[in-house]
């Protein structure tokens, strides 16, 4: 709401229903729209409709709901409309459970819906960062006219932490009058569509989208380096909650005089390939350890970054289990 987003359409699903419950009370107070849709399919298409009208619009859901929303995400990306989707990931596949997981990495970074499109994906690792990412997501969605996903997990969705709102900048949504369908008074009618039966036109549209994704790759790479310096022996790569757990492990190793750093991708698309590649090329680094709450998804991107020049180990927990710092320490000791 601080981002100027007062249109919200959603369907309840654990572990993030608290958002809908809060907004159901709050939106009417600010003259906004809260609507509980009949399904995630409908909710996401309501997002599609409201985005067409040029308003800042968003939804929150969790893994199975996001699968149902993937249809609309593909359309919204194709129609080049701004919208924000928050996925508080729970363990899957299938109905899975309601516990934290990072099992939707592929779905978020590789599409989920049909066709050749990308979401901008931000992965916060604290409640503070979640707030900042949601604010940023609206700006990025408007800037690129593309859906943006904030990819959290059940732990981030359920825990409470202090948040400093004063550090969050006031948003300035851009003028959307050049495309928003708000009635054709004093102008030609606008059309928002995704059907291109002519293959040449369709290819042209695909290339236009691809050029936009290249711009994102150039300008929107975000990451954090933690305790990474020139004599690191092992670099841990982790995002979100897993990265936070690894920070505690890195602190413990530092106290024991062991040089281990953490590289935390913040934008999952675009993935920080180049910065990670540079770090992996540092002479002292003899191995990388990828820690995820899945069976190994981001590790594919780490491999692309490292290009097989250093060994990459993997430690993952699944099914809602969260790795502990002690477990990560155990893995590190095997590598050193």
């Amino acid at each position: 709401m601080r981002a100027g987003a007062i249109h919200y359409f959603a369907y309840p699903i654990t572990p993030q229903t608290e958002v809908a419950e809060y907004l159901a009370r709050r939106m009417p107070e600010v003259g906004g729209v809260f609507l509980q849709a009949e399904s995630e399919v409908a909710a996401s298409n309501m997002i599609f409709g409201a985005a067409s009208a040029g308003v800042r619009v968003f939804t929150t859901s969790s893994s199975p709901g996001i699968s149902l929303m993937s249809e609309a995400m593909s359309y919204i990306a194709a129609a080049e409309l701004p919208a924000v989707f928050v996925n508080i990931v729970r363990n899957g596949p299938g109905l899975g459970g309601i516990l934290p997981s990072q099992g939707d990495y592929f779905q978020a970074t590789r599409g989920g819906g049909h066709g050749d499109y990308r979401l901008l994906v931000l992965a916060p690792s604290s409640v503070q960062e979640t707030v900042e990412h949601v604010m940023l997501a609206f700006d990025l969605a408007d800037k690129y006219r593309n859906p943006v996903m904030v990819l959290g997990d059940g732990l981030i969705g359920q825990m409470m932490e202090p948040v400093d709102f004063s550090s969050v900048p006031t948003p300035h949504p851009p003028d959307k009058s050049s495309w928003a369908t708000t009635g054709c008074k004093s102008r030609k009618p606008y059309l928002i569509k995704t059907l291109f039966l002519d293959p040449q036109q369709s290819e042209e549209h695909n290339r236009k989208l691809a050029a936009k994704y290249d711009e994102m790759r150039k300008h929107e790479v975000r990451f954090e380096k933690y305790n990474i310096d020139n004599d690191c022996k092992v670099v841990i790569v982790a995002f979100g909650t897993a990265a936070r757990v690894c920070k505690t492990a890195v602190d413990e190793l530092k106290r024991n005089g062991l040089r281990v750093g953490l590289f935390r991708p913040i934008s999952l698309f675009p993935f920080p390939y180049e910065p990670l590649h540079e770090i992996s090329e540092t002479g002292t680094v003899h191995a990388l350890l990828v820690v995820e709450m899945n069976t190994g998804q981001m590790i594919d991107d780490v491999r692309l970054a490292v290009a097989d020049r250093k060994p990459i180990a993997f430690y993952g927990r699944q099914g809602g289990m969260v790795p502990s710092p002690e477990e990560v320490l155990g893995e590190i000791h095997q590598l050193i």
């Binding site: 572990p15 309601i98 516990l99 934290p100 059940g154 732990l155 359920q158 825990m159 409470m160 932490e161 202090p162 909650t241 936070r244 757990v245 920070k247 505690t248 492990a249 602190d251 809602g320 289990m321 969260v322 502990s324 710092p325 002690e326």
Partner: protein, 184 residues
């Protein structure tokens, strides 16, 4: 300096809100805090719990396998979590409902009859506040008067509950101080 505390008991014992009050008090004192509700495989087996971390520095892993302190409001919680408490830690045992102790010799174990005290104060639902007051006095993680301020704030819209909950906090703290002194 980082302290992790687990509040554990049955659902309905005010476990989550007691933890939240502690987290808010820590925040009020300018500390970093994290509050996590029972949200894990451990939720099966009759215990509901929350974990609160209070720290001077940024909090890394929010997942705590071995807390420094434990407040056990029922027997299954004590049996389940007492062995996980770090050495030199504190365990508050609600001896109104728990007829056993942890058998740990490397921790400070304080028996507080939380339900009985709450009933005596005419506030049978205030057992969680008795425990919280006792815990604050033993651990000194947060000051008692800050907790009282949080209670005033939280019950702003239900002022009838303010005095009785503050009384519960204070009584819990008094009992804990007596017990700790008698342990020395």
């Amino acid at each position: 300096m980082q302290i992790e505390v687990k509040f554990a008991g049955f659902g309905g014992q005010g476990i989550l809100s007691a933890g939240k009050f502690l987290a808010e008090a820590g925040l009020h004192e300018g500390k970093e805090v994290v509050w996590i509700p029972s949200y894990g495989p451990e939720m099966r087996g009759g215990t509901a719990y929350c974990t609160v971390v209070v720290s001077d520095h940024a909090i890394g892993s929010p997942v705590i396998n071995n807390p420094a302190h434990l407040i056990a409001m029922n027997r299954p919680s004590l049996e389940k979590f007492a062995p996980t408490v770090k050495p030199k830690g504190i365990i508050i045992v609600n001896c109104s409902l728990i007829p056993i102790t942890s058998n740990r010799t490397d921790v400070t174990e304080v028996l507080v009859p939380c339900n009985q005290v709450a009933i005596e104060l005419g506030n049978p639902k205030g057992a969680n506040m008795v425990a919280l007051g006792a815990y604050a006095a033993c651990s000194k993680v947060v000051a008692l008067d800050v907790l009282e301020a949080i209670v005033r704030h939280e019950f702003e819209k239900k002022p009838a509950f303010i005095d009785e909950n503050i009384a519960a906090l204070r009584r819990g703290a008094e009992i804990a101080v007596e017990k700790v002194e008698s342990l020395r």
